[in-house]
Symmetry: C2
DNA sequence: TAGATTGTTAATCGATTAACAATC
DNA sequence: TAGATTGTTAATCGATTAACAATC
């Protein structure tokens, strides 16, 4: 993973001591402890905004559920797919988001809509009481400090690959 | 963007001077120069390995083409979708990858297959002469130093969001 | 006791920030 | 000339690495 032993010990020590000097780490225990540090012991109810290819891909990804991230509702502005089931969850119209959030104790929204509508949607979600946004739209959202935004900017990732490809001979 | 003016000037200075003291930056010129630094002036031919929801989402994303990343071939192991057109590109069986790569001057592969097959596929791609891999499988690939790998590990991203949500009150 | 491994302090390195010179 | 803005050097900060103590 290109991390030194020293780095791992330092990192772990920010959260406490999880091993035994001279003996080692209990891998299962350490794994669970890291999960707790990351907050994976807590359950989250999510909604998915935007049921395009990317949204559907995320909805179908089972491993998130294993980690306690439960997709409760799916919303899209396209009328043609309203009622369509994705992993047994019906696609709902956008104007039901507010009531759905209140009834289902939602704290995270996955944003997989085009960037044109993303900033406005983020504002609305905040006003409805969202706590975190997993943002796949290619824009930076402007939200209050107490709302967590985690960006997945795929175009930036691809440009990083591009840069590294163009500069291989310099690096190595 | 939570970057200071000083930081931007330092960063740009690693590549040269793009502005005029006392006057400012020519935005269009700077934008193009940054594109050149990132290697966006170069064209790349890509193949997509794995035509599931995520693969299809990426194939349908037009903006990559604008930046010079052209998806030339799509491959999947599922026979049922062989021949299916995604943005006018037919899905091909996996065993055609090698010959296709040679005939079409491919330098980047997008890996959107389950992690079980990803490590082996990466090895094969390297042996076929791939230069870069955009890896969406939830594993770390082990490839030679001169091959660029750019990882998009969505589960890590979600865990970061989880951690930040669990620790908001501490941070702010 | 010797070897191995984690915890913790100190040294080193690199990135960010601040300050100021150069220039329009 | 005054104000504004970039380029560049120096100071500060934080993260990585190295060294060693503690412990099995």
């Amino acid at each position: 993973m290109k991390v030194t032993a020293s780095q791992i010990r330092q990192d772990l020590n920010n959260f406490g001591g999880f091993g035994q000097q001279g003996y080692g780490y209990n891998v299962k225990f350490l794994y669970d402890e890291i999960g707790n540090i990351l907050g994976l012991d807590k359950k989250h109810n999510l909604i998915l905004i935007g049921a395009g290819n990317l949204g559907q891909a995320l909805a179908n990804y089972v491993n998130f559920e294993k980690r306690g991230f439960l997709i409760k509702g799916i919303f899209d502005k396209n009328k043609d797919i309203h009622g369509k089931l994705i992993r047994n969850i019906p696609v709902r119209p956008m104007d039901e988001i507010e009531s759905f959030m209140k009834e289902n104790d939602i704290d995270i929204a996955i944003l997989t809509i085009p960037k044109s509508g993303a900033v406005d949607m983020a504002k609305k979600l905040v006003s409805y009481g969202i706590k975190g946004i997993w943002n796949f739209a290619h824009v930076d959202l402007n939200v209050p400090d107490n709302i967590e935004v985690e960006n997945v900017h795929l175009s930036e990732s691809l440009m990083k690959l591009s840069y590294n490809l163009a500069n291989i001979q310099d690096n190595r």
